[in-house]
Symmetry: none
Subunit: 225 residues, 4 copies
Amino acid sequence: MQHIDPYRKKPSQPRSEGTIEAIFEAAARILQTQGLGRFNTNAIARVAGVSIGTLYQYFPDKNAILIAMARRELNKVSQAIIGSINAELTPDDSELGRSVVRALLKAFGGRQRMRKVLIEALIANGLSDELTRPVEEVLQTILTRQSRSQGGYFKTLTPIGLYVMTRAMIGAIRSAVMEQSSHLGTAAFENELVKLFFYCAHSGSDDLPRFDQLPWSTPSIDKNP
Amino acid sequence: MQHIDPYRKKPSQPRSEGTIEAIFEAAARILQTQGLGRFNTNAIARVAGVSIGTLYQYFPDKNAILIAMARRELNKVSQAIIGSINAELTPDDSELGRSVVRALLKAFGGRQRMRKVLIEALIANGLSDELTRPVEEVLQTILTRQSRSQGGYFKTLTPIGLYVMTRAMIGAIRSAVMEQSSHLGTAAFENELVKLFFYCAHSGSDDLPRFDQLPWSTPSIDKNP
Amino acid sequence: MQHIDPYRKKPSQPRSEGTIEAIFEAAARILQTQGLGRFNTNAIARVAGVSIGTLYQYFPDKNAILIAMARRELNKVSQAIIGSINAELTPDDSELGRSVVRALLKAFGGRQRMRKVLIEALIANGLSDELTRPVEEVLQTILTRQSRSQGGYFKTLTPIGLYVMTRAMIGAIRSAVMEQSSHLGTAAFENELVKLFFYCAHSGSDDLPRFDQLPWSTPSIDKNP
Amino acid sequence: MQHIDPYRKKPSQPRSEGTIEAIFEAAARILQTQGLGRFNTNAIARVAGVSIGTLYQYFPDKNAILIAMARRELNKVSQAIIGSINAELTPDDSELGRSVVRALLKAFGGRQRMRKVLIEALIANGLSDELTRPVEEVLQTILTRQSRSQGGYFKTLTPIGLYVMTRAMIGAIRSAVMEQSSHLGTAAFENELVKLFFYCAHSGSDDLPRFDQLPWSTPSIDKNP
DNA sequence: GATGAATGAGCATTCATTCAT
DNA sequence: TATGAATGAATGCTCATTCAT
């Protein structure tokens, strides 16, 4: 599969990098505060403090800016989750689920409006696979890691089970964020997600634990995730 | 919260209803086939076979068309689900879950692009509650009905549990539809959703059944649900 | 062969015709006085005294204006020549050639810069045949008419001879106009063209008259053609 | 009339000549393949493999490139024709006409799109005399040379006759090239041009030969002139 | 000399909306 | 009531040219 490069030229002089960063930051701010409707190249250039011509030296068209940003954001999310998992030095089952949920909540927590538009940009450009792949990979990594250890809870997740699990969790979080739900940041909400995570992870198994045997402990949640 | 009326005037003559219907149909078709980018009032009027002037006699502005359509669609989905539930003459627990899942799959199956834009229109206009309320009401109705009967599986669903359940299921379905996933229409996918439904419905309980005690039987799924 | 229609919509209200006429006139003036470089839709609309939006309701894009104008001009030239020929009540051979030459000189005499760009627009759009056809038709008409009468001088012009003749004459006139040659308007120049016409008309024949037998009389030329 | 120097600085080092040559070649290629619309300084510099800054050190502006190229091309055409004439070791009348026609066909045969734009550039800059002069000089040279020898067919060509002759021939060839006429390359087309040449050359005379006395023999034309 | 990042005026085109008929 | 011609602000994008490095 070809990897479409949305950039027009690679910056060779150091000052270019600052320019691109400024464009990204400006674009992000506009997307977040004004929405896609006000996301226009002239505005981006103005906010970024560069001329419209400069903007077009780095991106062939408006869409390319969206795609490039989407990829950046996606990477950040993946890295954040993986990082947060690796940070668990002794990741026993009871903490892993909560770590993943918190990483997801955090990743989806900021600049949600922007992220939503970026995701849509990828989809609209037929690049939805880029969107799905990293999330699945992360989850697969986690589950694989689990199944290697102990008796593991995540032995038998089917592909289609993984698919539904991924979307269910992201769907729940995304909705909450997009609706600016008051549940966001509550312990109860986080708990529901953790339960969902564990449940989904087991849904392929024939021999399942009862809820009261699932490995979550008394959670302590800070209001600002 | 005020209920914003997107109509400029109430249709009083039967002729008007036809006009509005034509406008809705034209708008829907454009939204579905061309996307929001080509959704403009001139095009709507042309496709609807009315003049742009007439269009503006029924809707104060472009946005009002989106809002009115969104409400209509939302109503249709609610009615469809409720209807499909009521259609179950002897709705025992094992069939209810599957009915709901199928109704949801069907409701989200057609004109997805249009529906997505309509939902976004509601959200962008600060009317997301309209979006959430009917779905929750439907689910609450179901659950209430269940809890009245027998010993019921759905006794103790907390509000926040209901919230997560709703979004998880809709999120899974919506993603599949938007990604044009090949899982759509398979028995396995439907099964996963039914399991999700039952699981979520129980997640608030302290005393939970084991999976092998959950009330689904051997499902018989036709490939085209 | 398809006839590409450069218009976006047919005017149904009478005021439209004035609008289109104004656009044509403005476009012509700009083309003539400023050249293609300054021929932009905003300028056309401004000069025409209409809004840019109105302009785009009649023409799908800038190019369409050029094409429509070119066809109009071409028609005018054809009509002028045919008209001038028909005006010769007793078109004997000696006057016919001069009539044609004068009609051509007149047709190419005004707004030359504009006409040049229009011709190029047709060519650039792969419509060069439209450019060639009418001129050839006119000449063919003349020659046919001649061959019917008397012993006619134009009996045996081959297709390729007609081709060269057409281009040679138009080329000579066009160059003179484009170079703003001082020869323009002189009797000598007109005479040379008339000779060229008669000569070319005969070039296919085996049995040719001598120059001193060619049918031109003492020409009387007005300085302003 | 002043001779406008389109160069910004004279190339002093051999390296510079290579640069200028690269710019010319790049400009020519773009003009020929993309047309004037894509003829922009950034593209020229990129194709030439030099920086835009360098380009502007050799040419004060875009137009200057066109003018310089036009002069170069014009020179080439003149030289080609003169050379081709001189190559005729014993240029008797019957071969001279054909030689000239073939030289013209060849000169106008390649990179026609480019040549057309260059010519227009000269005209647009009020330098059309540069365009006319060399062609006339060449023809005058030929005719003079002829009239010195034998009894010559070209004795009495008037200036205005020469003018019309030049434009008629070039007009016929140019049209054929620009229309990509299928006549191009055929013997018949070349023959017609040769006839035109001889005829025009005589048109000033009072005492003219009959066609069947004109000095062309059975021509042998290769399909690729 | 050479480079190429930056500039910004300029242009084509769209589309929500108005209002005279 | 219906029509549709007209409006013009808004926006994506190009490209000639400059100038700091």
